[in-house]
Symmetry: C2
């Protein structure tokens, strides 16, 4: 049931005609309260899409009543007209739902550099409002898909309350977010400040630790809404943990459905001196095109792991690094270890473990391999 699993939310997904395919492309999510708290994190990209600029302002006061999302167009790099279109969309939603436009979050995803067809989008909003139901979460999840092959939803059920979520994204996935739209909902009783803190902590170790292709998007948004409809007030830690569970599951689903990928690769850095060191090393390895090609070719080419590790400033002895691939220690003390032919890379999931022997921190970042299909999908996307 995704975002409508927690009490107090209605959702829908309809076809407005933004996608040539005729698949659904407008989603609406409404928080019926009693609380209307909201928090969000957005792309770190300075070239941000109009809906990001708008929605930052909307959630700044900790309140939102609705989220409207469209696929079929990112409304990025669209200048003043793009912002006007986002504003109009929010006003239209506000009119239909009888709320304030300043409490309507807007999210868009699709091709950059094209204006949205407002003559299709606004009637789509009307249709989405008419279709709102208490079990419309899955419809909304389908309507935000672009190159996703499956809708992504998750639920964390707790005692008397829950967290639900939906996500889209299948490329341009990188830390500080990506072409990723996520909405998480909860019926827990909380404050806007606690919701914001819980969301930031949950995304820090989930969405910020997936990196499909190193490219940062202009449109990413992760929005959290709380209705308080359960009447249950969890401890802040419990709320954070439930959010992290849902965000973690959605992040894993994004990597598992990344454009053209044949492998999901968990790069774990062990015994790092600091968490920052571990992250720096993991990110360097997850961004190595050469390594990603090797994994696609089922080649446990650990030299490419070491050459990526060596580009970082993390604390380690370059002569004393161990690397295991799927539990086979192919590199020991920066030299040849166990027979690389013992490594099987036939399964989709791959584990690369790097032991820095310099501390106690451990960090995992997920990525994908680099494949013919990735090149194909991304060389032909806009044509």
């Amino acid at each position: 049931m995704s975002t409508t699993h927690p009490a107090g939310f209605r959702a829908s997904g309809v076809t407005a005609g933004l996608k040539a395919s005729g698949a659904s492309d407008v989603a609406l999510l409404v928080n019926d309260g009693p609380d209307h708290h909201a928090a969000a994190v957005f792309t770190g990209n300075r070239v941000e899409a109009a809906p990001v600029t708008w929605s930052r302002q909307v959630v700044a006061d900790g309140r939102a009543d609705a989220v409207v999302l469209n696929s079929g167009g990112a409304n990025a790099c669209t200048g003043a007209q793009g912002f006007t279109d986002t504003h109009r969309t929010a006003e239209h939603v506000a009119g239909v739902l009888e709320v304030s436009a300043g409490d309507v979050v807007v999210c868009s995803t699709g091709l950059i550099g094209e204006l949205l067809p407002m003559d299709k989008l606004l009637p789509g909003v009307d249709a989405a409002a008419a279709a709102l139901t208490g079990d419309g979460g899955p419809d909304a999840a389908r309507a935000i898909m672009t190159t996703d092959s499956v809708p992504k939803t998750a639920v964390a059920q707790r005692d008397g309350w829950s967290v639900g979520g939906m996500a889209k994204g299948a490329g341009m996935l990188a830390p500080a977010l990506a072409t990723m739209l996520v909405v998480v909902t909860t019926d827990a009783v909380t404050t806007p400040e606690q919701l914001d803190a819980a969301l930031r902590e949950a995304t820090r170790t989930t969405f910020d630790r997936i990196d499909s292709d190193g490219c940062m998007s202009t449109n990413d948004a992760v929005v959290a809404l709380s209705s308080g409809a359960s009447g249950v007030t969890p401890a802040p830690d419990e709320l954070t943990e439930a959010l992290r569970e849902v965000c973690g599951e959605l992040a894993r689903a994004l990597i598992g459905d990344a454009e053209g990928a044949a492998h999901d690769i968990a790069v774990t850095v062990r015994r790092a001196a600091t968490e920052e060191d571990g992250l720096e090393v993991a990110r360097a390895v997850t961004r190595s095109n050469l390594l990603k090609c090797a994994i696609f070719g089922q080649d446990p080419n650990w030299g490419r792991v070491l050459s990526a590790v060596g580009t970082t400033a993390a604390t380690f002895d370059p002569r004393d690094l161990d690397v295991s691939i799927n539990d086979v220690m192919v590199c020991r003390e920066s030299g040849v270890g166990e027979d690389r032919d013992l490594v099987s890379l036939a399964e989709r999931e791959v584990r690369i473990d790097i032991d820095l022997k310099s501390g106690e921190e451990e960090v995992t970042v997920w990525t994908n391999d680099l494949t013919h299909d990735y090149v194909h999908e991304n060389s032909a996307y806009s044509t």
Copy 2:
């Protein structure tokens, strides 16, 4: 004639059997003086190959008598035995040439993580020494090739003196060098200090501004040797300029022969506030896999340029960026500009110009597109 074009140098290239193909794989270059000045820059990768560790020490005193280079094995991640093998190679060259082992630069390139077959390499050194001639530069250039499709040489002829060079490298090309071995020679009269300064300045704006795939190698070395045999003492600026000419030509040849590439892409950042800003923006754009796939697909997807620019901290107004692709301004003031269908990407060379409108600096970084052939070659390299 490449490295043997300047007076005072002999070179050779022979087959030692390191390559399964039977192609030549050991090159030797000797500086007969009267000067024996040397300078070098090496990979910034902390996981550096044994020959890099060795050769750093060799050139530290500004003198080298010979450079021995092998393809067919990088001697990287090979531990203490790898360093012993490099040392033995230098000792062997020294014995044959009757020079000091401490004046013999050693360079290796090929697969990481495998020991060199010394029983083949050392007889190869003997054969290379026997084959040394004053016009052996092209033979040496061929012997250092790995996945290169052509040998790369260049010459800058000046009045009474010259600079010559050879290079290999076709993947793992990135700033701070790559799987790139380069030797440049000159018969100009200079000092070790001037040679070092000229080499660093020349590489800074040539080899350090090509980035084929963002991956930094363990073995990169650019070695400069001066013989003084011309008897001509150019001004320091003239020497730098001639070195820059040869390094620039070789760098362009490396990009033009990058593994699997179908396009060579010059990303030029104009009107940057500082050179650092220009470089940061150019590097961010040249590392965008999504953009590189789009260029492969002949798709002038300028949104991917802007989304890469937006990841940087450079000075610019995100609402006022212009982007031209092959002279068509497809993005004006961060929005839609001229018709993208006017852009032809049929030619191999592509120019992407980004106007930051924030200063007077201009920086160009070269890269390649991301293609099926890149994925193919790099998914199957070691198998």
